[in-house]
Amino acid sequence: MGHNSVIDQLKKNQIVDLLNEGNRLDGRKFDEHRSLTIDTNVIPKAEGSARARLGDTEVVAGVKVQVEKPFPDTGDKGMLICTAEILPIAHPSVETGPPGPPVVELARVVDRGIRESGMIDMKKLVLVENKAVIGIFSDNSVTDHDGNLFDACSYASTAAILSSKIPKYEIKDEVPVLVEGEFTETPITTIPVSVTMARIGEHIVVDPNSDEWMIMDARITITTNSDGNIVALQKGGSDGFTYEQLVKCSEISISVGSKIREIIKQSTQGN
């Protein structure tokens, strides 16, 4: 998103003034996320899929499951890779071509949050040790951009994985052969939920929308698991946090995270 310093500064003043009075531009409470709706199975030909709408930000995630040759040092585990692309339909500022640093960071933070939570039991995705494992690719396509892509992509991918099924393979002479039409459950251990917060002045607000994103001082994304533990974190933006703010953010991430987790659970039930 481009910068126009005069407009930006006016918008920033307006947002900060409101926050100082305890209000946000769109009427939300500081620790309130935007409306979240998740539809699963939107790409029926993929092994799992979901569309997440977080306010006016919208992401489609599709899961592809394929047999992969494992890396030499991790032959006893399956593979999980989450990616993210901001489609040019999503916002006038999006440029096509190789991903720049912000998109690389987006994809890696989404990937790490899900991977570090141990959401999928990777040990159960081995077909032939050191030779063939299940690879799970969860690709996020951002279709509309109104800020906080970190959480929207994370929720879309998490729901897509929860809705996914693993094709069944029989092993013949150490070679996996697909059994057409049969599937097993994806081995889920926990549901990771990322919560992104912006610091604007001394205020911490949850799920910043595009206006807040443009003028924030710093941001933090904290991912928690079903046990309420913290599994991943990423600070961003051109300023910092105090120790007290970091503690407060961790508490918010746990409480907001548990609400989001319920929405994700209900949206993916019956899959």
């Binding site: 030909k45 006016d56 919208e58 599709g62 692309e85 339909i89 999503a90 690719f137 690709d139 279709t143």
Partner: protein, 244 residues
């Protein structure tokens, strides 16, 4: 025209195709206009199992500047497949196939849009294939037309689109993925019904001169059918909800 497996029954004794359609029947097509918040115009199409988003930005400044034309606005088009849109995960980098399809769709729309009044600007058409099942270029072209209209771009006509083809030595309408893989010919077409102009036409596979004529005729008929659905999508947005 990949495999051409002769064992697949593409047309049974009752004239029914593998998915139950008759030879002159398109798959189910639904189009919704105005589905995106940020884009200047947009449309979502389901064309059989194809699921495609079209978004329009512009008229707007051209970057880099030297691509702009001082006499008229220009059109750009990106046709792109999401990694999860096809059977085996697709590498997100644009393939040569996507580059070519982007070009033929752009050239299919150029005769329709009127950009003289927007010199030095560009209208960008972004087409995202979320799920592919044969005939994506036609479905994407049909969605792009609706999205251009939704964006308020002046147009001589909407471009409609549908493929004809040949399976089991019979000319058929709207080739699906299975028919494309195992069939004898696929002829995607783009057509402006009011101006009676074919603006996209490609062919893979063998046709006699007579079959060729039949294919073009059948394709035009399919485009006319899709055109009605395109118009309906715009009516639903602009008259049922009463906005604009």
């Amino acid at each position: 025209m990949g495999g051409r497996d002769p064992n697949v029954v593409l047309l049974d004794e009752n004239g029914k195709r593998s998915d139950g359609r008759t030879v002159n029947e398109t798959r189910k097509v639904t189009i919704k206009a105005g589905v995106l918040k940020n884009a200047n115009g947009s449309a979502y199409i389901e064309f059989g199992e194809n699921k495609i988003l079209a978004g329009i930005y512009g008229p707007r400044d051209v970057h880099p500047k030297h691509l702009s034309n001082p006499d008229t606005g220009i059109l750009r088009c990106r046709y792109h497949m999401s990694p999860f849109s096809v059977g085996e995960r697709k590498n997100p980098a644009p393939s040569r196939r996507e580059v070519e399809i982007s070009k033929v769709i752009k050239e299919a729309l150029e005769p329709a849009v009127i950009l003289d009044q927007f010199p030095r600007t560009v209208v960008d058409i972004f087409l995202e294939i979320l799920q592919a099942d044969g005939g994506t270029r036609c479905a994407a072209l049909a969605a792009a037309s609706v999205a251009l209209a939704d964006a308020g771009i002046p147009m001589r006509d909407m471009v409609s689109a549908c493929a004809a083809g040949k399976v089991a030595d019979t000319v058929i309408l709207d080739v699906n993925n299975e028919e494309d893989q195992a069939g004898q010919a696929d002829m995607p077409m783009g057509y402006m019904p009011n101006l009676k102009k074919i603006t996209l036409l490609q062919l893979d596979g063998v046709l006699t001169p007579e079959e060729y004529k039949k294919c073009v005729e059948v394709g035009i008929d399919g485009c006319n059918q899709v055109y009605e659905i395109q118009k309906k999508a715009l009516e639903e947005k602009y008259f049922s909800k009463g906005d604009q």
